[in-house]
């Protein structure tokens, strides 16, 4: 039990969950076959909106996080309308440029405190435990205050992620989800069938931005400090690699990708200076043998068949 409740492991799991949420955000846009690299930009919009609201305006976190998501989503509509006329590599470049523009704007605004960033952001854990203690639930037998707050954050994040997964699986079976899939399969054919492709692409883009913005808001309240450097293009690449490694066919793909890519650097800590070399080598090997990502629809079918056979026996 001590091992499970170790602060270090709890913290890693928390980062895994936040990254998994980011993975869902890129899955959202990828589900219409659009490669958008603006997620770090949307994440930073969410993070800054949320941090400014809680630090400077005294908003409660549970309101600020969705507002951060909504702000990111709103900006994505403005950007998306012209940008989504582009496809493939052109859209990727345009959204990548958007991310950099956001970063430079943040760097030069007064309210975001420029390059100095915003520090002293209240943590999600203390906020939640404060809320609970006002209901008379302050301590759970034998846990330190820190463990309690981390566990609470964990529960909240698991809840959010579970909801997102639920939402996406339901979405896939709905009219909207079918439209997404048809656009991904063949955009012109989908258009010929009477699907308003611009509308659905924009919808996926805005949903992805909303989730990324929320993840940004959550992460701002987990790292105490945000600066423009945290949302540079390397973050976009990181988010994209969740989907590339895990596979982008199914929602579980980016989540598994986020899990592996967040845990690996920590597991490899013992290798000290060779850490990043091993990490890089693993990525290359993975791509060489599973270019479609770890989990594809085929994988699921394969295991279902296998397990099904075993049950029958």
């Amino acid at each position: 039990m001590d091992i499970i409740l170790n602060q270090y492991y709890l913290q890693i799991v928390i980062f895994v969950l936040v990254n998994a949420i980011l993975g869902v955000s890129i899955y959202m846009t990828l589900s219409t076959g659009q490669l958008s690299l603006g997620n770090a930009g949307f994440m930073s919009i969410g993070a800054y909106t949320c941090a400014i609201l809680t630090v400077k305006a005294g908003f409660p976190v549970y309101l600020a996080v969705p507002i951060g998501g909504a702000a990111a989503s709103f900006i994505s509509l403005i950007i998306g309308y012209p940008a989504l006329r582009l496809t493939g590599i052109y859209l990727a470049i345009a959204t990548l440029g958007f991310g950099e523009v956001v970063r430079v704007i943040i760097l030069n605004l007064k309210i975001t405190n420029g390059a100095l960033g915003i520090s002293g952001i209240p943590t999600l854990g203390t906020k939640i435990s404060k809320m609970l203690s006002s209901f008379g639930l302050s301590r759970f037998g034998g846990l330190t205050a820190q463990q309690t707050s981390n566990l609470l954050v964990l529960v909240v994040l698991i809840f959010i992620l579970a909801f997102l997964v639920f939402f996406c699986t339901r979405l896939n079976r709905s009219r909207v989800g079918r439209a997404f899939a048809s656009i991904k399969a063949d955009e012109s054919a989908a258009e010929a069938m009477g699907i308003n492709t611009t509308y659905y692409k924009l919808l996926a883009f805005a949903l992805g931005a909303f989730i990324a913005g929320m993840a940004g808001g959550l992460s701002a309240h987990l790292t105490f400090f945000i600066g423009p450097k945290d949302f540079a293009y390397h973050r976009t690449v990181e988010i994209l690699s969740f989907a590339v490694l895990g596979g982008s066919d199914l929602i579980i793909g980016p989540i598994v990708g986020a899990l592996l890519l967040t845990m690996l650097p920590e597991l490899l800590r013992s290798a000290s200076e060779y850490r990043l070399m091993i990490y890089g080598a693993l990525m290359v090997i993975m791509m060489a043998f599973r270019p479609q990502g770890l989990i594809s629809e085929e994988t699921v079918r394969f295991w279902k068949r296998k397990l099904g056979r075993r049950i029958k026996q």
Binding site: N6, Q7, Y8, L107, A115, Q146, P265, R269
Partner: protein
Amino acid sequence: MKKGLTKWFTGMMIGTLLLTTAGCGGGSAPAANSESEGAGAAKIGVVAYLSGGGAAYGQSQKEGLDLAKDEINALGKVKIELVYEDSRGNNTEAINAVNKLINKDNVVALIGPTLSGEMFASGPIANQSGVPIMGTSTTAEGITDIGEFVFRNALPESSAVPQAVKMAVEKYNLKKVAIMYSSNNDWAVSGYKTMEQALKDNGVEVLATETFADKDTDFSAQLTKISSLKPDAVMVSSLYQEAALVLKKAREIGITVPFVGTNGFNSPELIKIAGKAADGAIVASPWYPGKENEKITKFVTDYKAKYNKVPDQFAAQSYDALYIYASALEKAGSSTDRAKLRDSLATIKDFQGVTGKFAFDEKRNPLMDATVLIVKDGQFTELK
């Protein structure tokens, strides 16, 4: 079906094997990083920028710490064991590293991280856990406001820069100056703000404020404008890479006035890159290897013998930091009690280190004097 089961089994075995090797590695890593000092050694965790763009800073810190550790252990009053973790200059990595050191390695205290931003992210965790953490290079404003357990022996810019500005104003009778700073570097912006305040306090007029960005290489537009205003001096807040290029370009277009810099000027690299153009660069530094002092000479010789180079400020401040911890540990009389260590750390005063006489003020910032240096004929010399 049998075959399927075997496949499953092999997969599981490989998985377990991988996990256990990773786990074992984690357990034995500290021993590999630093030779075991035996029972009773105080474990101190170090979070440093050891890989990536700023790895040179982290490397210097590591070298300074290793040297201090060997000396302290040879003296034998307290035994210290160091556990290093890399933060890659990344906030979440720094948080993970601090968490690991506190909860997995059970360190009694922490040194680092290298960057101020990393400290803002990971300092609160150490503070909540009740583990003393000391920054050796975190000069930004507000670091020690994080909490009771956060210390630093890095001289904040707010203390070093005014000393340099004041000295330069008196020495060169400055009336009007121009300022340049790197606007996308948190630390440089913070330095610029102190600079502006110091100039105001000394009644100096600011003719122009020009900005650039880290990794810029062309400064002709800004410098041509400054040149036309004919200032008595130029103030620069940036890291040494840009500072050196600014100096080079400025001398090229005929600006001969002195340049006053923030801590970024304080590196031998500045002179290496700018060459003759570096002459007339002024900076206040707690660290000056050429000072006539037995302790400093010994440190410089030992460091040179071990690493074959002159220690920079990062090495010197880390070296001092470990000695400060050593004397606090000695006073606390325990190598595991974190709270006791914090209390004895807070009372440190009249400590003699290679960066001069040292004490913590009530906000756990260092009280120390800086030496104002000027580059003359390619050498840092004291400005008197």
